[in-house]
């Protein structure tokens, strides 16, 4: 029984991180219908920034988050201007998604290899005073990095919720998401809204990277595996459902953890795979979506 509770605890911490990892991808997809397959690459990039701040200047990774946010936000703006905004001229949503997939795929090649050249393909991780430690709450062990990750994920999710739900900017984003043309008729500069949203999305990826590098590790080519996690969580949450992302991540974390508990650790990927296939087959619109079966 105790082991089971431990499993749940572990699943919750991992799940929160999964949710955090997905926020940036979900935002871009929900708002602009762009699929950024370079999302994992940006997570790794954010992780590197934090890593170097720690390795060179001893900065606590969690304190580096504000700086990572700023830098990644600017990178996101550049990324949008260079690769995504030209796609807005395309007529239909379908071709926009496909083209964004292709273009960001090219971005992976460029950025991943730039990182490999500059920083070598070695695996990097942050080893600090809190690494590997855990604390006991009510007889259950929680890893310190996991708790930090959980806290960051929750804070970021709540902040995002408030930005989107309560601020004028957030309302403009939601309007542009629901009907871009009508938003223009309300005086909303939709392109500028997209511009800033892209910055936010990449900044979110950066924050996720900080948590990844301090709880696990990163390497220049490791973006793909995090991208896949984000894909699964995004599908679970349902398209465009940004507020459902962290809950969906939690569910994935729990399911994975319980699955591993049942079949054993070496089959972790197989468990995730089975979960994924089941979702794809029976509820591809996600667990939280109001709409029916999405099919083209």
């Amino acid at each position: 029984m105790k082991i089971f509770i431990q499993t749940i605890a572990y699943g919750v911490l991992v799940g929160a991180m999964y949710g955090l990892v997905t926020l940036g991808l979900g935002l871009l997809m929900g708002v602009m219908k762009f699929l950024n397959v370079a999302h994992g690459t940006f997570i790794v990039l954010g992780g590197y920034i934090s890593y170097w701040l720690f390795a060179l200047y001893g900065v606590n990774p969690y304190l580096s988050i504000p700086l990572v946010v700023i830098v990644m936000f600017l990178i996101g703006l550049i990324f949008y201007k260079l690769t995504l905004s030209p796609l807005l001229k395309l007529p239909s949503i379908g071709s926009r998604i496909d083209s964004s997939m292709l273009i960001t795929f090219g971005v992976i090649y460029v950025v991943d290899n730039l990182m490999t050249i500059f920083w070598k393909p070695d695996v990097r991780t942050i080893v600090a005073s809190f690494t590997g430690k855990s604390i006991q709450i009510c007889g259950t062990k929680f890893s310190v990095t996991g708790l930090y990750g959980f806290a960051v994920a929750v804070i970021v999710a709540v902040v995002l919720y408030f930005i989107l739900g309560r601020t004028s900017f957030g309302k403009r984003v939601r309007a542009a998401t629901q009907d871009a043309e009508a938003a223009g008729l309300c005086g909303i500069n939709v392109h500028r809204t997209y511009f800033i949203s892209s910055g936010i999305a990449i900044a979110l990826a950066g924050v996720a990277g900080v948590i990844v590098v301090s709880s696990y590790s990163i390497n220049a080519n490791g973006g793909l595996s995090w991208l896949l996690v984000a894909f699964v969580v995004m599908i679970l949450a349902g398209e465009g459902n940004i507020n459902a992302i962290v809950p969906a991540g939690l569910i994935l974390g729990l399911l994975e953890s319980i699955g591993v508990f049942i079949v054993g650790a070496p089959y972790r990927q197989a468990v995730a795979l089975v979960i994924f296939i089941i979702i794809l087959m029976f509820r591809p619109q996600g667990l939280f979506s109001k709409r029916g079966h999405t099919n083209r």
């Binding site: 007529p91 998604i97 997939m101 292709l102 090219g106 971005v107 290899n113």
Partner: protein, 314 residues
């Protein structure tokens, strides 16, 4: 109707490759590069069949390639003649495609892409666990190694693939898949069973990828980690070749593969990883400014290469 100009060009190029090793002393490394080129041609045609013509972006091609490489290797090792082993390997890819295709093809484009890459990655990891040690052929095979049959087999498979794609694309089936690509809903309304068409195209694409895998496997003795042939690289490189060369055409994948393989070799010596960055930038530029790839660019200059109409913006 046979496009005579294109047939002549194809025949001439084939003849060139057939005759080349007989008259020029190519070292084994050059032969290997050419074999890799032929493998890439088949892989990119395979991806293009689904991606450029049917409009389904399959990010999990590596799964079909790897599956065939593995099966071909195991069967051949156990004594089956290579040709049958390759066919069996290709067939195993088709079976895999059947399993993967059923849940994923019903999904919208994005989710199809996501689903395929997730499944391919999962397969790679599983294979890594199931075959953690290296795989190699017994010594008897090594002693009788001769690169020429491998070269010609790979060449033959490449030519076969190009011809098959051409026939396919000109057939009624080819018309069907282009309809699905251009507007799936409209196609459904005219009575085309779009799921069946996508599924068949998926299976064919897997078969071709399997052939590529078989040809590749024939040329390898030793696999340090078999999971390496399931790596996403085997999806992404052909994808690059197709987009740069020109998707939705017959010549595009061939041109793109030439470009990719030859330039890779040239640059890799001097620039190392940077050459991949150059490809990445080139790729992005092509997508932004010349979506019909090199073929489209060339088409503006001369009308030698042909094919079905360029992939329109949907």
């Amino acid at each position: 109707m046979i496009n005579t100009k294109r047939t002549i060009v194809l025949a001439a190029i084939t003849l060139l490759f057939v005759v080349l090793p007989l008259f020029v002393e190519l070292g084994s490394s050059s032969m290997n590069i050419l074999i890799l080129l032929f493998v890439y041609i088949v892989l990119s045609q395979s991806w293009n069949l689904l991606g450029g013509y049917t409009g389904q972006i399959n990010l999990g091609l590596a799964a079909f390639f790897g599956c065939s490489v593995l099966v071909t290797h195991l069967l051949w090792k156990s004594g089956m003649p290579i040709c049958f082993a390759i066919l069996a390997g290709s067939f195993s890819s088709v079976v895999l495609a059947g399993i993967i295709g059923l849940p994923t093809l019903r999904l919208r484009g994005v989710y199809f892409a996501i689903g395929t890459i997730a499944l391919a990655e999962a397969l790679r990891i599983i294979m890594g666990n199931v075959f953690p040690t290296s795989l190699s052929l017994p010594g008897t095979y090594a002693s009788s190694f001769n690169v020429y049959p491998r070269y010609y087999l790979a060449l033959g498979i490449a030519v076969f693939t190009v011809i098959v794609i051409e026939r396919l694309v000109k057939s009624k089936f080819g018309l069907g898949i282009v309809c699905v690509r251009d507007d799936e809903e409209a196609a459904q309304v005219t009575g085309i069973n779009t799921f069946k068409i996508k599924f068949v195209a998926f299976l064919m694409s897997a078969f071709l990828a399997g052939l590529a895998g078989g040809a590749y496997s024939f040329n390898r003795f030793y696999f340090h980690h078999i999971s390496a042939v399931f790596e996403p690289l085997w999806t992404f490189q052909p994808l690059m070749a197709v987009v740069i060369g020109g998707s939705g055409t017959i010549a595009g994948p061939v041109i793109g593969s030439f470009f990719l393989v030859v330039l890779s070799e040239l640059f890799a010596q001097n620039l190392g990883e940077a050459h991949l960055i150059i490809f990445g930038i080139l790729f992005v530029l092509v997508v932004l400014f010349s979506p019909s790839g090199l073929v489209g660019w060339e088409r503006g200059l001369r009308k030698v290469v042909g094919g079905l109409p360029m992939k329109h913006e949907r």
